[in-house]
């Protein structure tokens, strides 16, 4: 299974190995997170590690960053075998990590954020400022020590995180899904920065599941599946599709839509939806759109531009919202969440752990959630346990939820299976409108394909879908129409058949003010 193709590709690096992992294994009770992982990261290269969700990438990174000790195997850094028992250990050996979620204090300056916890290195004054300026210049990070972090954009904040790691003396920088939060333009800037690190002789370990990005930036790619290294390849010798197949171990789906099923019947009509804030810019500003039966409307936008508020306002969870929302001609503006659900709105929430599931309840109870007033889960004022159980079993089968049974706690399932259960539940009771917020986020490729299939199938049946996603490929592939949301306003309509991710990216950041309406 394991084959390390060292030096086999044309551009394969040959420099000294800065990180060598051999036979790394980590077991959690009942789960083998890592099993016999072998990776060589060469100095001055960008080494990507790709794999499905749950393949063991994060466990591996935690081991390398000293958060968890491995059960077996060895770690060598610059030829010297080391034991990393804490992140402080890791830093001491020159390993630094940039997490997906930034750990910066908004109300402090860059300088303050960087020196926080590393005061001993260069103090907190002039020496530290000079060092930050030096690093910024050397690696082309374009960071000014005295800027307030709250004034920085997402990309700049990420560069601050990288700077923090370099300031602490890291020679090996691990980036966990760094592009997940970035728009395409910012991704390019990040990649330029990574090239800068590489030029200075640093090693970069880049974790991602976005294969196109990996192929464009990495010097070497290691694919992990089910806890072990499948292969290490050079980007020049594989296509994205081959990589994906290595990851999944089988053939791949794509999110492409089939022929349009859009009808001319307006199902959801939103007019002037505004969500005022007592002081400041409204979170939603006069949002208006229609969704027809059989239509998927995609909403693109950088996170935090009103997507969550839009969804919650339509669901009735934001009482302060003004404007009209009508479903199938009926004004539902005054209805409670429960009435709206009863009227036929299915809801796949953005954060399935917070909004979609009762993690410590069995699956069949989760089946009832959101359907407390509808059969087959209830009979009058009573819960119909048998009905809920058997319908959960139906969802488990139809949606391929991998679980030993309906009595398992939701917490025990993997993210993808949890999400399939939610989609299955929200598709129950014949909804007329499905609101799906990031339906495949954090879900493995197999589950992703299954969820796409279900959405497409329901659309054929005449379901209207409001799709929120940060994955532009998913938006373009599934939607019949894409609206871009920026600062709470819809700023442009695009036809997915003709738009590129870059165009969407410009609209999302407000870069192209001359909004092209290419629909």
């Amino acid at each position: 299974m394991t084959s390390t193709v060292e030096g086999s590709g044309p551009t394969a690096p040959t420099g000294p190995v800065s990180v060598r992992l051999r036979g790394i294994g980590k077991r959690f009770p009942g789960v083998i997170a890592n099993d016999d992982i072998d990776i060589d990261v060469h100095r001055g290269t960008i080494h990507a590690i790709v794999g499905e969700n749950g393949a063991g990438k994060s466990t591996l990174m935690k081991i390398l960053y000293g958060v968890q000790p491995p059960d077996s195997g060895t770690i060598e850094i610059d030829g010297e075998q080391v034991r990393l028992s804490s992140p402080a250990d890791a830093i001491r050996h020159g390993v630094g990590m940039v997490f997906q979620h930034f750990m910066l204090a908004d109300n402090l300056t860059v300088l303050e954020n960087v020196v926080l916890g590393a005061e001993k290195l260069h103090g907190i004054g002039g020496a530290a400022r000079a060092e930050i300026a030096r690093i910024s210049a050397a690696y082309g990070l374009d960071i000014h020590p005295d800027t307030l972090v709250e004034d920085l954009g997402v990309g700049a904040r990420q560069r601050v995180e990288i700077l923090k790691v370099l300031y602490r003396g890291a020679r090996i920088v691990i980036l966990d899904e760094p592009t997940a939060v970035l728009v395409p333009q910012e991704v390019e800037e990040l990649f330029a920065n990574l090239q800068g690190l590489k030029r200075e002789g640093l090693s970069v370990i880049f974790i991602s599941h976005k294969l196109d990005e990996v192929l464009s930036v990495a010097d070497e790619i290691t694919v992990i599946r089910r806890g072990t290294t499948v292969r290490t390849v050079s980007p020049s010798e594989v296509t994205a599709r081959q990589l994906a197949e290595l990851m999944v171990g089988s053939e791949l789906p794509s999110p492409s839509t089939e022929t349009s099923t859009v009808t001319d019947q307006v199902l959801l009509s939103v007019r002037d939806l505004t969500l005022p804030v007592p002081s400041g810019r409204p979170l939603l500003d006069a949002v208006s759109f229609d969704i027809h039966r059989g239509e998927v409307l995609g909403i693109a936008g950088v996170e935090g531009n009103g997507q969550a508020e839009l969804v919650e306002s339509i669901m009735g969870m934001r009482p302060a919202a003004t404007g009209t929302v009508s479903l199938d001609g009926q004004d539902i503006g005054g209805l409670s969440v429960r009435r709206r659900r009863e009227a036929g709105i299915g809801y796949v929430p953005e954060d399935r752990h917070r909004h979609g599931l009762l993690l410590d309840a069995p699956l069949w109870e989760n089946r009832i959630l959101g359907h407390q007033t509808r059969s087959p889960s209830v009979k009058g004022p009573l819960i119909d346990k048998a009905g809920a159980r058997s319908d959960t079993q139906r969802i488990i089968e139809q949606y391929d939820v991998r679980t030993p049974g309906a009595d398992v706690l939701a917490r025990a399932l993997s993210g993808g299976n949890q999400q399939k259960l939610i989609v299955g539940r929200e598709m129950s009771g014949d909804p007329v409108l499905l609101i799906a917020a990031h339906p495949t986020r954090g879900v493995d490729v197999g589950a992703q394909a299954a969820i796409w299939d279900h959405i497409k199938a329901a659309r054929r049946e005449g379901l209207a879908v409001l799709l929120i996603s940060a994955d532009l490929d998913e938006l373009i592939g599934l939607s019949d129409r894409i609206e871009v949301i920026l600062r709470g306003r819809l700023v442009g309509t695009f036809d997915p058949a003709h738009v590129t991710p870059e165009q969407l990216g410009s609209a999302m950041t407000g870069a192209g003010d001359d909004t092209e309406v290419s629909a």
């Binding site: 969440v337 429960r338 009863e342 954060d351 917070r354 909004h355 007033t373």
Partner: protein, 368 residues
């Protein structure tokens, strides 16, 4: 081992673990205090006499109602510290109503009990409304309401009190004989009588179990307790549930003093038992909010309380040892349940992982 067997074993291991740990720690405390370890355990583990059994059951029924009142809140993640104040306000009201005897016989009893539940619910409802509309933590507001209850009852008791010749007690008018709830006798010895109200306590337990486990309302309540955010997204009005849960908790709290009032003292006075609400918190924790678990917890507490006198008089240890034992048991139970719960979750994740593994293996065989 079948999953059901595993569950059962896991369920049993927690209390066993807790009791063993409590036994060890208490013995250690006794040793340090220089008390006779053997004598203490000999006394605690001796077969109780008839009147002791009656006392234990009677006292447990009171503690049980308190535990259930607290458990209703707990199931929704509401920390109703105020059961103590709620039951005192309610018991006082019921004592006055029943003592005045506006209605004849058992009608009087029923009216008094309904009043107690209503007053208990109202008192708890204040905290519920404050939480729902103003976001005031129910912990803070119920603690404050306890203080207010203490003063209010004291003030009203002075107004309503009647005095018996030669006694320095003060209390409300005695409940007429026709409105008292008769006790069951289970032996000839003195004191071998069990409150008739025990039946109602059991009924409350059954209703609690049914309401939470089998009704839509119960589902909404539990769902809100498990995740407020998921509850909101599923269409549950959390503010309504907060008020409803507090009202319900308070209504049951209103029943707490009833076994004592109608089965023992027939009056609310300066010697009426206090502190029952706080015991209820410990008992709800001990019983994991489960109707049967709470019953076991209540019996255990009543049993330990009953040991207090013989331990002092016959063995010569301090009553504090009993209090320490109670505290130790609650702590060990909470800790051991958490340990067992985590272990159970891991077991389940293992079984899910195994199921997945074998499926994947099959899938790969097919594709291979």
């Amino acid at each position: 081992m079948t999953p059901r067997m595993t569950k059962l074993l896991l369920g049993l291991s927690a209390p066993v673990l807790a009791l063993v740990a409590a036994f060890a720690i208490t013995s250690l405390v006794l040793l340090i205090a220089g008390d006779p370890v053997g004598g203490v355990w000999g006394e605690i583990l001796s077969v109780p006499e008839g009147r002791n059994i009656a006392n234990i059951v009677n006292s447990a029924s009171v503690l049980y109602l308190s535990g259930i009142a607290v458990a209703i809140g707990f199931r929704m993640n509401l920390f109703n510290i105020g059961v103590d104040g709620q039951y005192r306000v309610a018991a006082f009201t019921a004592a006055v109503v029943a003592g005045e005897a506006w209605l004849p016989g058992y009608l009087n009893t029923v009216l008094a009990i309904v009043c107690a539940m209503a007053v208990g619910a109202l008192w708890a409802g204040i905290a519920g409304v404050l939480r729902a509309t103003r976001g005031v933590s129910e912990v803070i507001s119920t603690i404050m309401l306890n203080f207010i209850a203490t003063s209010l009852v004291a003030f009203l008791l002075r107004k309503a009190a009647v005095r018996e010749e030669g006694s320095n007690n003060i209390g409300t008018k005695e409940i007429p004989e026709g409105s008292r709830i008769p006790s069951f006798s289970f032996g000839d010895g003195p004191g071998q009588e069990i409150y008739g109200f025990v039946v109602i306590a059991v009924l409350v337990g059954v209703l609690y179990w049914f309401l939470l486990g089998s009704t839509r309302f119960g589902f909404d309540l539990r769902a809100t307790g498990r995740s407020t955010t998921a509850a909101v997204a599923s269409g549950i009005s959390v503010t309504k549930m907060v008020v409803a849960a507090m009202l319900l908790s308070g209504a049951v709290a209103g029943l707490v003093g009833m076994p004592l009032l109608f089965g023992e003292s027939y009056t609310y006075g300066s010697t009426f038992q206090s502190g029952l609400g706080f015991a209820g918190i410990a008992i709800a924790l001990l019983g994991r909010n489960h109707p049967v678990g709470v019953a076991i917890g209540a019996l255990l507490f009543a049993f330990l309380n009953e040991q207090s006198n013989p331990l002092q008089i016959l063995v010569g240890v301090s009553p504090d040892i009993v209090a320490i034992t109670q505290g130790v048991i609650v702590l060990t139970v909470v800790v051991s349940y958490e340990l067992v719960r985590r272990y159970g979750v891991r077991l389940e994740q293992q079984s899910v992982a195994r199921a997945l593994e074998s499926e994947r293996a099959q899938r790969e065989e097919v594709t291979a």
